[in-house]
């Protein structure tokens, strides 16, 4: 109960930022909320289904690049037209990559997803026709002005939270948790576990695409660095810092990391060591992440 109340307060506080009109905070918190969506979508795989994917940044990037392509080449800008196309693109990529990767399990699964991310990274990085290493501009953005973009991102965050909550409380969500705990048993109970895993992979990939779309819409700039294993690793770190297997954990993680990056950099030149130490400390002493602290008080 307390947790739910805190989340509502947080949502309202984030909403309030939208009315300040402060150009810095609009973009800063906008970015933080995109991080929340991205991390929550990954948590569906990592925390609930037990699939550690390093391909997650790929879906973020594909959707972002699709928006750039649609806007620059076809003059398609309105979110009504572009959002479904970009999400469909991310979903399609998730079907293909997921279908191929899910043939492997455990560490091998992690590595196949790494391979696909890297292939896409190099594809976009090396080809000048796709923007090359300098990236691309989104010439016309779907949302005019930072305030509009901010409210769009806020709404997306609330919707994604609601959708994931719904999915996880449905029988489908329980089946995913069952697969994480004991896939063998789920299979013997008659669940087509490979299909369940693929569906989870595609839902997560599509939501990552949503995060990518919003990012490209907010900044109007896409770059191959958004693909790649570093980005995938960063979002994994976000989920774990916050606490996997919960929906509010990734939100906590994303907000925390955004602020640590912003203020840590001013605090010391060796701020990367600071993040390293933070990560190590959380792994060793807070295995359930920051959300674990909240649970302890419940």
């Amino acid at each position: 109960m307390i947790r739910r109340a805190l989340l509502v307060v947080l949502a309202l506080a984030l909403l309030a930022v939208g009315f300040t009109g402060d150009r810095f905070w609009l973009q800063f918190m906008g970015k933080a909320m995109i991080g929340c969506i991205f991390a929550m979508s990954l948590d569906l795989l990592v925390g609930y289904t037990g699939l550690v994917s390093l391909a997650h940044a790929a879906f973020f990037g594909i959707s972002a690049y699709l928006l750039a392509g649609l806007s620059n080449h076809y003059g398609l800008v309105s979110p009504v037209a572009t959002l479904p196309i970009c999400l469909a693109g991310a979903a399609f990529a998730a079907v293909v990559i997921g279908w191929l990767s899910l043939r492997a399990t455990g560490v091998y699964f992690i590595m196949v997803t790494l391979a696909f991310t890297q292939m896409l990274y190099y594809l976009f990085n090396d080809a000048p026709g796709l923007g090359g290493s300098d990236g691309l501009y989104v010439n016309e953005r779907p949302f005019s002005g930072r305030t509009t973009a901010y409210f769009a991102i806020w709404s997306a965050l609330v919707i994604v939270y609601a959708v994931l909550l719904r999915v996880l409380h449905a029988p489908f969500g329980h089946a995913l948790v069952g697969i994480r705990v004991n896939e063998q048993r789920m299979r013997s109970l008659g669940f087509p576990t490979p299909r369940y895993k693929l569906v989870a992979f595609v839902i997560a990939g599509t939501l990552a695409g949503l995060a990518g779309y919003l990012d490209a819409a907010l900044y109007g700039f896409v770059n191959p660095a958004e693909f790649g294993w570093r980005q995938s690793g960063l979002v994994l770190m976000t989920v774990l810092l916050g606490g996997k297997g919960t929906l509010h954990g990734p939100i906590l993680g994303a907000l925390l990391l955004t602020f640590v990056e912003h203020y840590g950099e001013q605090f010391t030149v060796h701020w990367n060591a600071l993040i390293g130490a933070l990560v190590i400390a959380v792994v060793l002493f807070l295995p359930r992440g920051l959300a674990g602290l909240v649970h302890a008080r419940d």
Partner: protein, 286 residues
Amino acid sequence: MSFSLFGLQVLNGVEQGLLLFLVASGLTLVFGVLGVLNFAHGSFYMLGAYLAFWISAGTGSLLAAVLIGIPVMASLGFLVERLAIARLYKRDHLSQVLLTYGLVLLFNELQRALFGNDVHGVDAPRLLAFRIPLGSAQEWPAYRVFTAAACIAVAALMRQVILKTRFGMRVRAGASNAEMVEALGIDVRKLFSALFSAGTALAALAGMLAAPLTTVYPGMGENVLVLSFVVVVIGGIGSIKGAFFGAMLVGLSDTFGKVLLPGLASAMVYAVMAAVLLVRPRGLAG
């Protein structure tokens, strides 16, 4: 491509693969027996290279650098295992990835603080400072041949240790079933410490041997790390033999990818890995 150029490219690929094998062998050992995905392996490689640069600049001898550096790095590996890794054996892969990634960030800062951001060259030992003609137009430095030979020697030595010694027997047993080893009264903790130190020393040795060939620079570990993961996974986790063939495959496909399909060269290695895993989901040896 002429036949002689083809032969030369095969040599290039094998040579690249051998050094990769040396890095990957330590990774696959730790991975296979301890079950730990160690992202800091690349950092050990980098620190090894920096030690080679620093000590050989002071003493004028790369051999001295290896003799001093290996014990230093093995001790570092021991400390890291006792203080951090040992707490993770019962935890999932994700925690291990994250913790060792945190270590990567720490070691990067350590390198910056100790050695700065410059690129450094390391000279090959004077004995080996000559070149061997290869075909009509190209030459190979003797040191490149020496490192290839050293990698083969280490591979052979590892094979002997693993197949013929008591330590090797325990390692093999640990790789297949850690609980049984424990039940047999072998102190798994000591075994794991020793193995992690050995893995660290192997990475550092690779970095030291590679230093005169690659030059020494910040971030050098990360490029090697990702490629070694590819090698380990292609080969099948925990298998030294698999890592050897994986390294050859990666070295050759990278070499020929660059020559035959330059536009797709960078994605080549990953495409090969994906292909291998789609056919054999547990690697070549799995």
